[in-house]
Symmetry: C2
Subunit: 461 residues, 2 copies
Amino acid sequence: MQRSKIKDIFAQGQAGRDVLVQGWVKTRRSSKSVTFIQITDGSTLQDLQIVVDEANPSHETAAGLTTGCSVSVEGVLVESPGQGQKYEVQAGSVTVIGGSDPETYPLQKKRHSPEFLREIAHLRPRTNTFGAMARVRNSVAYAIHTFFQERGFQFIQTPIITASDAEGAGSMFQVTTLDLNDVPKDGGEVKHEDDFFGKPAFLTVSGQLEAEIFAMALSDVYTFGPTFRAENSNTSRHLAEFWMVEPEVAFCELDGLTELAEDFLKHLTGHVLENCLEDMEFFNKWHDNSAIATLEGIANSNFERITYTEAVKLLQSSGEKFEYPVAWGTDLQSEHERYLTEKKIQKPVIVTDYPKGIKAFYMRLNDDGETVRAMDVLVPRIGELIGGSQREERRDALESRMTEAGISLDEYSWYLDLRRYGTVPHSGFGLGFERTVQFITGVSNIRDVIPFPRTPKSVEF
Amino acid sequence: MQRSKIKDIFAQGQAGRDVLVQGWVKTRRSSKSVTFIQITDGSTLQDLQIVVDEANPSHETAAGLTTGCSVSVEGVLVESPGQGQKYEVQAGSVTVIGGSDPETYPLQKKRHSPEFLREIAHLRPRTNTFGAMARVRNSVAYAIHTFFQERGFQFIQTPIITASDAEGAGSMFQVTTLDLNDVPKDGGEVKHEDDFFGKPAFLTVSGQLEAEIFAMALSDVYTFGPTFRAENSNTSRHLAEFWMVEPEVAFCELDGLTELAEDFLKHLTGHVLENCLEDMEFFNKWHDNSAIATLEGIANSNFERITYTEAVKLLQSSGEKFEYPVAWGTDLQSEHERYLTEKKIQKPVIVTDYPKGIKAFYMRLNDDGETVRAMDVLVPRIGELIGGSQREERRDALESRMTEAGISLDEYSWYLDLRRYGTVPHSGFGLGFERTVQFITGVSNIRDVIPFPRTPKSVEF
């Protein structure tokens, strides 16, 4: 018989048919006359109940099962008289595939702390929280692809190893094949020509500049891959390795970009509500009781647009006591962003036209000479979820900004070539995948939304 | 007016309607009375012809356009009286957005060598070959996701930075934040505790072991992300950085895995034929005139299954002169693989049950004690395209293999835990994304199927 996944069994129903189910034991309780086993196969949050009567030749086997055992069950799907499930399986045979010693198995029926579960990250996908997390991550990741594919964007894989460090978005990891015990030197300096790439190489902090190359040929592209920050930040919001989505759109100015960002977030949240409602109800119940309402808020509200200058005025006239002072020319802090989106405007807010001094060199300068066509999308609980801009497509203006920023025009001549040959207005943004999953699930620590978090002093599994 | 993409214009047709088209000039030819401009926007291989009559106020502008200029054109879509296209645009207005100096623009109408185009990898997406390549890559990548999503697999992002080096699949890149000019040492040894992760860290060669963790909870998972090899191989088939797909399936033995691999390749090739036929016809015409026939061969043939032992017999009795001798116990070389799939069997071949000495420690040992449940899928022109195995799920057998291979049981205790708690038969394979794109397009050098190739001494852009 063909194996059925538990998700499909519940979806298809049809009491009376024979089924073969394979999975892992969540719990088992036995009385003299009957044993109930809850099994999961990871296809859905919902366990499937297996009923093994005393008369069943497998009853002794079933009565000995413990949490974590793997089993194969053949039986008949029947309507469940019990509460909490519509169907259950009246077992014909129960076969143990792999045992699980209850004396040593670290996952018990009780709730475990997130810190403990991080130490056994190879077993935590078996818990309800991390199973649900994996399914929501998968759903968001696939929604990212379907959104862009339906709009004719091409998925580009930009390089992970790079010699560029232009964005200066923080410290970078170096990639090398040199023997650290015996680094070859020439006149006291590292002989980079002996290294694999013949020059210093790093892990990318962003695929944007390379994505721009492809937008200048294919019009609409996006990247979706890992990026890195070698920052010594031990916070609940930072990872040294995380995935990022970066669309880049030719013939698109800032207004078009804000529309794309709004449509994108609505697509992601709508997709999760439609495809992972059961998992979201779990997060809503156990992790953040505003999780579903927040998603519905994204899906149903029109995002507000204000300029940075307006935002500063709103903050200054708010009467709120902020930890960090608000002044035109300084960056907005998380507390400011959250005040705007949660309290003042009470929906997602897109803030545009930031002072050039606090934004990257490639953002398009406004006619005022002071602000740039940047945008940040602020959402409740998180603050900035998306950051982007219209790019500076005028070569002379870009060269001025690069010179100001101390970036070598020679080294980035390829980037300037995009403005030399058939330049067009273009725009793009970046969205951190893990921070988005954190936002969607309401889980408080970013280490608990990624399979194997990489943080300072932590690179296990 | 809303911009229309050229692909949509050709797909929707409807002569007589107004359109706004934005893109880059491929070619322009003018006579006294009329100028024809071919423009592309990357949405399709096909250029759109713009017709600008002498009477048009934009005619002088149009007549001055050169290759690479970006333009915005408003006009009326009409049926084309000329050959080679069904529709063209009778221009109302032509606006130049960005110029392109014909004296310095490196891309001219003539055909450029692949070597030259690699040097200007920031401009080569504008050529027909690399535009088509980007669209085929996108199509294959999306087909990878749709295949697994439709089957209920969960997409998992396994870590890029890892402390594991178990697979031993070649040299690894080290990842560090130590200053190479001044590596901190303690008693002559590198002080790894000063490094970002507090111990040596590397770029992953495979996400398999981590994917197994998730298969033991979610049943069916896949990874799709970058992997790395620090091998000093300057060949047309090797990259230091490439993307890999790795499904891992619980409750699945080798036969199920070969079926999955066959279905997968048929889905990928079928998807490309359906969605990128125009681009494939281009590759078929200019790069490999067997490209489309090869894809159709995959889609329409039933893959043959033979054991390694049978393969060795076929090779030994072939009468062929091979560069490398064939003997039971040594690995098959590309020439052997190609003989089997191209000449002897003349369709894709899945070779199973290789000698344990030439395969990884985690492959399941057969009862003969000599061979393992490995499989390689061989296809014409490339040889091995997929490699996989049923995994050793028996803890004692796995520990023996690890001890033989000199792998620390302590360091991989988490991997052994998967066999300690609820172990199940499971199987998985790996498919190199770039090698697949190379196979599909027939392009001879792997450096020309990836946006920015990373190879020894080469890390540009």
